[in-house]
């Protein structure tokens, strides 16, 4: 099979695990129950701790991809160029910039105004908060052998990821992108567009890598 990564599908994977085997929650006959049953038929075993770990990781990746796709859509109008652009985004860079937005760490001086603008946007704040939390939990889920996970723990993380993803439109401002030069963005990617900086804030890493463009103020919810 092929096709681009769909963030909601990653969240669906996480939901499937988070809602399996909840005591007393007999959901036979519903569409979702049938979906879960089909997965269970393939698994044929009880849930293991690794399933919960994978659910948290999938929830994180769902949010990660939702942010990068929305962000890249600001710059790259075509799906082809967008798919190239999202490969440039790094987990550590998103962790840094979302941390700046939620007052953790200090942004470079040239980004102070942009970060401050993003801090004023409640929607951006919530997405950044969720990213920070899920990034931390995902790290534990994937690497910390001593970490404990429960269904409740997974359920709440998946809810958090879904809430954040729901706040991110598919393309935050795509219909308002102004065609033009790349404006310092990777020139080798075709279709990269320049957008009006007075309304939108773009953050690049100190090394100059593009990694996050967030709409701050206005726009579609």
């Amino acid at each position: 099979m092929d096709g681009p990564i769909e963030p909601q599908h990653l969240l669906d994977q996480a939901w499937d695990i988070a809602l399996i085997e909840e005591p007393g929650a007999d959901r036979r006959g519903t569409d979702e129950a049938e979906m879960r049953d089909s997965i269970l038929r393939g698994v044929r075993r009880p849930l293991r701790p690794e399933d919960y770990r994978r659910a948290i990781s999938a929830a994180y990746y769902g949010l990660f991809h939702a942010i990068t796709i929305a962000s890249a859509s600001l710059f790259a109008p075509s799906s082809e160029s967008r798919n190239e652009l999202v490969r440039r985004y790094r987990h550590g860079d998103l962790k840094a910039v979302t941390g700046w937005v939620r007052n953790s760490g200090t942004p470079p001086k040239y980004l102070t105004n942009s970060v401050e603008t993003m801090r004023q946007d409640r929607r951006v704040q919530m997405v950044c908060d969720a990213f920070q939390r899920l990034n931390k939990s995902r790290e534990s889920a994937d690497y910390d052998h001593n970490a404990s996970f429960t269904q409740q723990h997974v359920l709440d993380h998946v809810r958090l990821a879904q809430q954040a993803v729901n706040l991110i439109p598919d393309r935050w401002i795509f219909d308002e992108i102004l065609p033009g030069s790349s404006g310092g963005l990777p020139p080798e990617i075709p279709g990269v567009a320049e957008i009006p900086h007075e309304r939108y804030r773009f953050v690049t890493s100190p090394g100059g890598r593009l990694f996050l463009g967030l709409l701050a103020g206005g726009g579609r919810a």
Partner: protein
């Protein structure tokens, strides 16, 4: 890694102070009951952070089965847990307290403390304290 001699006691003191403080708080429907702590390590940070594993009161009981079976995924998730804002408030409070106290040497300054919330109904107390 904790490299400075003597910092382990300071870290324990820092973690216990936050944990004890959390036990005095109520976050909407979430009431902290007990805690333990350990260190967490990030792959891209040299210094560890404090993880407080917080045992909390159970979410409200789910509605009857005949109602559960009719629910969509989001409704079901909400019915099986606390209000999401209450859950988030626990982390925000711990984070703010950590910054207010100031992390001891050897602990990440940017993310000194994290909380793992465990519902009482899912955690056997003996296991939790094991």
């Amino acid at each position: 890694m904790v490299t400075q001699s003597g910092t382990r006691d300071e870290i324990d003191e820092f973690a216990n102070a936050i944990g004890e403080w959390l036990l005095t708080q109520q976050f909407g429907l979430i009431k902290p009951l007990d805690f333990r702590h350990r260190l967490g390590f990030s792959r891209d940070e040299d210094e560890p952070y404090v993880i407080i594993e917080l045992l909390v009161s159970d979410p409200p009981p789910p509605p009857p089965r005949e109602e559960l079976v009719k629910m969509k995924r989001d409704e079901l998730a909400a019915a099986l847990s606390w209000p999401l804002d209450d859950w988030k408030a626990v982390f925000e409070a711990a984070r703010a307290k950590g910054f207010e106290m100031g992390p001891p040497p050897g602990i990440q300054a940017s993310w000194p403390v994290d909380v793992r919330v465990f519902a009482e109904r899912e955690v056997d107390r003996n296991e939790f304290y094991g």
